[in-house]
Symmetry: C2
Subunit: 454 residues, 2 copies
């Protein structure tokens, strides 16, 4: 017998203690989203390939797990050298949302705030901290172009982060339209290459980026771009940075017909409102940020933590994605929390409540004859809200049963033998403290409550 019993590469089994910690995080995120009026939806794990490939283009092509056709369809496909698959596993929750909105438009309000939490699958090379099956937690608003949507999306996410215990995070915000204005002002059309370079400004430094830009667009335009970004360096605070950048861009040659104040006004409004409503000023304007997904059309944001190399959440406005699936464009924006990275960080920083991995009451059993009594006691305790594990193997020695209680991570063990039955009492052991008491049966509930808190 030599079946490989490990999960598929890049995927994971979770033990009970791990599931508890994961659920703790998921519940906090879910609560924060629900407090803001985002409503839950669910979509299938599988999508038609035409849906998956609808807009996302080359950057995700290679990441899709495709489902093999079956039966006659497969035979035909092989015979005729056609596609071997028609469905794929979803690689994010944004494309399914756009498809969902188009499919259910008759039953949905024009302005729709939804959240979705669930696994997505990407056939990436598995490596430390990068998985092929992982959870995302998304909120999105469809049907409104108001920048107050961005405000609430950011506030809701901040609330989730605070509730999880993070204080040291920063929200980076930019607007794709500002980047587009810079490029347009300089008659640059090779947008993607130039944007990829600009995105590296705070990673590989000015000198290296300038070198790259010169290669792509020549010295003159490269220098002009650097002057624009240089101007921001002197600024104090985000609003000042936006003002200076706006000014620098209006001064770019030939920029008059390109310049539009909307993105600057919206960024100022978003930042000012968050500062007015939120409790901490941790939102900063980052003019270099581009973000990968090609579908963003306006404000973009990313949540980062000092000394952590990956971002914990990211999103933005994508006013042209719904139109790919729908008859016409519908404005939309959203954010996606990278759940696995938060889980990783919280484990590393030990940010979970005490006893989160512990289970409650473990009932040992002395004889087959006492089993029904034990089950009745367990039933009463369950009625009081406790989780109770009854040990089923009445012939096993108590030592072995307690080993099982410890391995199953229980905090309290009960002992009910003939002696206890005669005296209508029960023995209770706090397994953490290795401390045992015998108490009257009618005091059991209160006693357990106290012990669970110790």
């Amino acid at each position: 017998m030599s079946i490989n019993v490990q999960p598929p590469s890049g995927m994971r089994d979770f033990l009970p203690q791990e599931v508890k910690k994961r659920r703790y995080i998921l519940n906090i995120i879910k609560d924060a989203y629900e407090k803001y009026g985002y409503l839950p939806i669910e979509t299938p794990a599988l999508e038609r390939l035409e849906v998956i490939y609808g807009k996302t283009g080359a950057e995700t092509d290679k990441l899709i797990f495709e489902i093999l056709k079956r039966g006659e369809k497969l035979e035909d496909a092989i015979k005729n050298s056609e596609q071997l698959s028609e469905y794929g596993l979803r690689f994010d929750l944004t494309v399914p949302l756009a498809r969902f909105y188009a499919n259910n438009i008759g039953n949905l309000p024009g302005l729709f705030k939804r959240y979705q939490i669930g696994p997505v699958w990407r056939a990436e090379r598995a490596q430390k901290g990068r998985y092929r099956e992982f959870y995302q937690c998304d909120i999105d608003v469809i049907g409104s172009d108001s920048p107050f949507n961005e405000v609430e999306i950011i506030l809701a996410t901040m609330d989730a982060f605070y509730a999880l215990g993070f204080e040291d995070f920063v929200i980076n915000i930019n607007d794709r339209r500002i980047l587009f204005q810079i490029l347009k002002s300089l008659d640059i059309y090779l947008r993607d290459e130039v944007l990829i370079s600009i995105d590296k400004l705070d990673k590989i430094g000015k000198k290296e980026v300038l070198k790259q830009l010169i290669e792509i667009i020549g010295e003159d335009k490269a220098n002009k771009i650097m002057i624009v970004f240089d101007s921001v360096a002197k600024a104090k605070g985000s609003i000042d940075r936006i003002n200076i950048l706006e000014n620098a861009i209006t001064n770019l040659s030939g920029s008059d017909e390109v310049y539009d104040s909307t993105p600057y006004d919206q960024l100022r409004l978003i930042i000012d409102t968050i500062d007015a409503v939120g409790e901490k000023k941790n939102i900063i304007f980052n003019p270099y940020m581009v973000r990968g997904m090609t579908y963003y059309t306006g404000p973009i944001f990313e949540i980062t933590i000092q000394d952590v190399s990956f971002s914990l959440a990211g999103g933005g406005r994508y006013d042209e994605l719904i139109g790919v699936y729908n008859k016409y464009d519908v404005p939309a924006c959203g954010i996606s929390i990278g759940f696995e990275r938060i889980y990783y960080l919280m484990c590393e920083r030990a940010m979970f409540p005490k006893d989160i991995e512990k289970n409650e009451v473990f009932m040992t059993v002395f004889t087959k004859e006492l089993m029904t009594d034990c089950l009745k006691i367990a039933k009463d305790l369950r009625g009081e809200g406790f989780n109770v594990f009854v040990y089923p193997d009445f012939n096993d020695k108590i030592g072995r049963q307690i080993t099982s209680a410890l391995k199953n991570n229980f905090k309290i063990a009960l002992f009910y033998g003939e002696d206890e039955k005669k005296k209508n009492c029960i023995s209770v052991k706090n397994l953490d403290l290795n401390k045992q008491d015998t108490i009257a049966m009618d005091l059991l509930v209160d006693y357990i409550k106290t012990q669970l808190k110790v």
Copy 2:
């Protein structure tokens, strides 16, 4: 643009109201399981095909969604006419559990009670009430052969059903070993065919089954089987039925070396204990029940409801499945609740709490200038535990905003204009009752609490 925006065949999108009802059920089942000390685990959606095909054999072969190999692996597979896939989507939660146990045995207690709730995928022909992606809710105990495991598995499931509001369900119980004893006593080796016929006794009737059995095993043996089952007809109650059947089987020719009292004793113990601990006597011995999965080795059970053609849950003991993945056999048993059928029935019977589809507070907005105030009010309400939707499009007329509130299923709308601001009050409308009041700001929390209960 002609992308098909429907979900894949046999799979579903769920609107917020549907998600709420589904979660309501899932939470009740989860709570019942946790009360019994079953601990949560999670496994990937994908499994290696060698794991999926390890034990389940022909009956599931055709149901597996397989994942197409990628890149070079796929090219090689096509070139060499090898298998085009190495992974498949899980079709149940029992096979993954067996694999999980073998993989994590070093970190698991020998006696392990776990639950798992999640989607599974089967490439069945889609039809009414049968889906290709659906949820299962499983509990299992690994590492114990005590029949008290069956007792607790059944009690936990009964608790879940009661908590959901079902009263009219019946637990059918049988033991595969009894069926095997009958067959062995008559030297019948074509087990599967005969069992499939017996399984139909309470569906297509005695006469038809006898006809089928005669074809398979001849008149003599067919008649002997019918006599055994006929004997049970006169019995009163489950225990009486078990006693009579046991007696009839000991009387079968050549049965002395085959007869073993264990399954009868265990069934009596299971039924007696459930009757002693549980509140209702709705467990019945059904000697015809076989159940499909080939891996069952002992007691089997199925939960049914009168006038409903499908079973709502089913399970049994499978002492030889873990051994397929592990170095040696480990006893195990479990039950699987068919969540989709319960969801279907509860929708049909309107068994959900009043207002389950409703959302809480919808905040309308009069002007851009008042937006920050509105966000602050929303923030305070969220701090009090309410879910608050703030309408982001400050230029929209209030009528349009209220339409959005109704379409989004909100129960309460708030109005905060210049007038309200001056007087430090706020207008509150109960959208269900179409009733509006203006109240002092510091009474808002209590007022909303009252309205949400109306």
